[in-house]
């Protein structure tokens, strides 16, 4: 029997699903009032109050998506903020990284300020952005951009500096002008570094959007979570978190797909030379 179900590459998905079900099963077992006698809390209602009940949480998600179908507006806003923050932050980071990577003097001048901006806890800017850009989408996008920008920027900066000098000299000997060098050598070389950072930065764009909503908004999944928290409705909070997690996974998978399509020149196994 064990021989049949033991983990192997073929039944990986089944095991992953099993693990998920086990977690929710345990959760259900430990929180549902009356299922087992309380051993940590004074009465049997408290576990459910603090941790929520999986069945109710799924009921809430079902209502959001199908019964009431009222989450789409919020989800759309959050996703829009995420995608905008991700796109703008990546573009700015790519531009700034290329520029500073290619002009060492500018990089030397800006160096301490970039380090300072990067080490600053940028989430703290959210209230300022709310004042500047209002409570709409813009302030959340701005927060996400500050988070994404630095990740991409540092990777591109590193990527430009680590372009293989031989490949560069070869392209120059082949007659590439400075603009062609940028387009055909620096940019492709930096993209491999950008992609290694995109998985992190898409997550951070999401963080920026949700934290922004959480701190002040009238729409978005972060707003839903905030509302539920105000009413001590832990089930709705958990449901919101689950929905956010699922969509973060979807975004990450989308980035992975894009990466595989654009980076097919990169060796997959055996060789891992970074150029």
């Amino acid at each position: 029997m064990w021989k049949f179900i033991q983990p192997r590459p073929g039944n990986l998905r089944a095991w992953q699903l099993g693990l998920l079900l086990a977690v929710f099963g345990l959760w259900h077992l430990l929180t549902t009032p009356g299922l087992i006698p309380p051993f940590m809390f004074e009465n049997e209602q408290q576990a459910a109050f603090f941790f929520g009940e999986p069945l109710k949480i799924f009921g809430r998600i079902w209502n959001w998506f199908f019964a009431n179908a009222d989450i789409y507006e919020h989800l759309w806003v959050t996703l829009l903020e995420t995608v905008l923050a991700f796109g703008i932050g990546t573009t700015l980071g790519l531009g700034a990284g290329l520029w500073l990577g290619l002009s060492p003097l500018a990089a030397a001048i800006c160096d301490p300020y970039i380090k300072a901006l990067n080490s600053m806890p940028r989430v703290i800017l959210a209230p300022i952005f709310a004042v500047w850009f209002g409570l709409g989408i813009a302030s959340k996008v701005a927060l996400g951009v500050t988070l994404v920008f630095f990740i991409v920027f540092f990777n591109v900066y590193q990527g430009v500096k680590e372009v293989s000098p031989v490949v560069l000299a070869n392209a120059r000997m082949l007659g590439a002008s400075p603009r062609q060098l940028l387009r055909h050598v620096y940019l492709p070389s930096a993209t491999s570094w950008v992609f290694s950072s995109l998985h992190t930065s898409v997550g951070l764009a999401f963080v920026g959007a949700v934290v922004g909503e959480y701190l002040g908004s009238s729409r978005g999944v972060g707003y839903l979570i905030l509302q539920a928290e105000g009413a001590f409705d832990i089930n709705t909070v958990m449901a919101g978190i689950l929905v956010l997690t699922a969509f973060a996974l979807v975004l990450d998978a989308a980035v992975g797909r894009l990466e595989r399509r654009l980076m097919k020149w990169q060796p997959r196994q055996s060789q891992t030379e970074k150029l």
Partner: protein, 272 residues
């Protein structure tokens, strides 16, 4: 030796010295080559041999215009070189293909930079000539080391440069592939008759391929210590020519000059 009496040589290095200053410690200086004069006539195949680390690659970088000499001048077809040497093609020792371009796109690169209209057709033609007609859509990491070198060769030669600079292009290849490539290069050179400056540490290779072999002393401050005209008949087969008596004679003569320098270079590396 072709008649280059009236015409200026394709490439002429005159009194070239290169001193590198250590970036961390400006007091530390290293003179790679000192007072090197070297000329390559149009259509001539010249090899430079010398012990490891003697500054052969430095000379080539100077000839390519990638490196400005500390003193001395470089002339290309009689004109002083400033900036990159646009009439030269450079085949590097290390991997120099753009990994994000396929073999065909790599060969096309130079033509594309120049805005040639029929870049693709020419590149396909050259890929066929180096025996990689069916490999145009492969990325460099999908090709073997020998194939990558052939793509590099096509990438350099498709631009039809008047001067070809080669820096130990085959040193990473196994002996069979290497001889195949050497013969290919000789055949291509014979049909086009370009000036070639060929750097190698393999004396056999140098003699088998060249019109002239220049020996460099051990570094630092390497300089030419001997020059030999290779009067073996052409066309040559690099594998067969090695067994002719004249080849062995030449090999002994050059090795006599080079031997001491190689030992010196080796000792220096041990001491360092």
């Amino acid at each position: 030796m072709p008649s280059t009496a009236e015409r200026p040589p394709a490439l002429a290095l005159d009194g070239v010295s290169c001193t590198f200053v250590s970036r961390d410690d400006p007091g530390q200086r290293y003179t790679a080559v000192r007072d090197v004069s070297l000329a390559v006539g149009a259509g001539e195949f010249v090899s430079v041999v010398g012990p490891t680390g003697c500054g052969k690659s430095t000379l080539l970088n100077v000839a390519a215009g990638l490196l400005e000499p500390s003193s001395g001048t470089v002339q290309v077809f009689g004109q002083a070189l400033s900036g990159l040497n646009a009439r030269a093609g450079y085949m590097f020792q290390a991997e120099s293909l753009m990994p994000w371009r396929t073999a065909l796109q790599n060969v096309m690169a130079g033509l594309e930079f120049r805005g040639a209209a029929d870049a693709r057709a020419q590149a396909e033609d050259w890929l066929k000539r180096v025996g990689l007609g069916g490999f145009g859509d492969r990325y460099p990491h999908q090709l073997s080391g020998g194939m990558r070198k052939r793509v590099s060769l096509a990438q350099t030669l498709v631009l039809d440069p008047d001067i070809i600079l080669m820096d130990e292009p085959f040193s990473a290849l196994d002996i069979q592939t290497r001889q195949l490539m050497e013969n290919e290069v000789l055949a291509l050179w014979a049909s086009k008759k370009k000036a070639v400056l060929f750097i190698t540490h393999d004396l056999d290779e140098a003699i088998a391929m060249s019109d002239r072999v220049v020996c460099l002393s051990a570094g630092p401050a390497a300089r030419p210590i001997g020059e030999f005209h290779i009067d073996l008949a052409r066309p040559r087969d690099v594998a067969e020519v090695r067994n002719t008596p004249r080849f062995i004679e030449l090999h002994q003569a050059i090795w006599g000059v080079l031997r001491e320098e190689v030992l010196k270079g080796y000792q220096q590396q041990l001491a360092a």
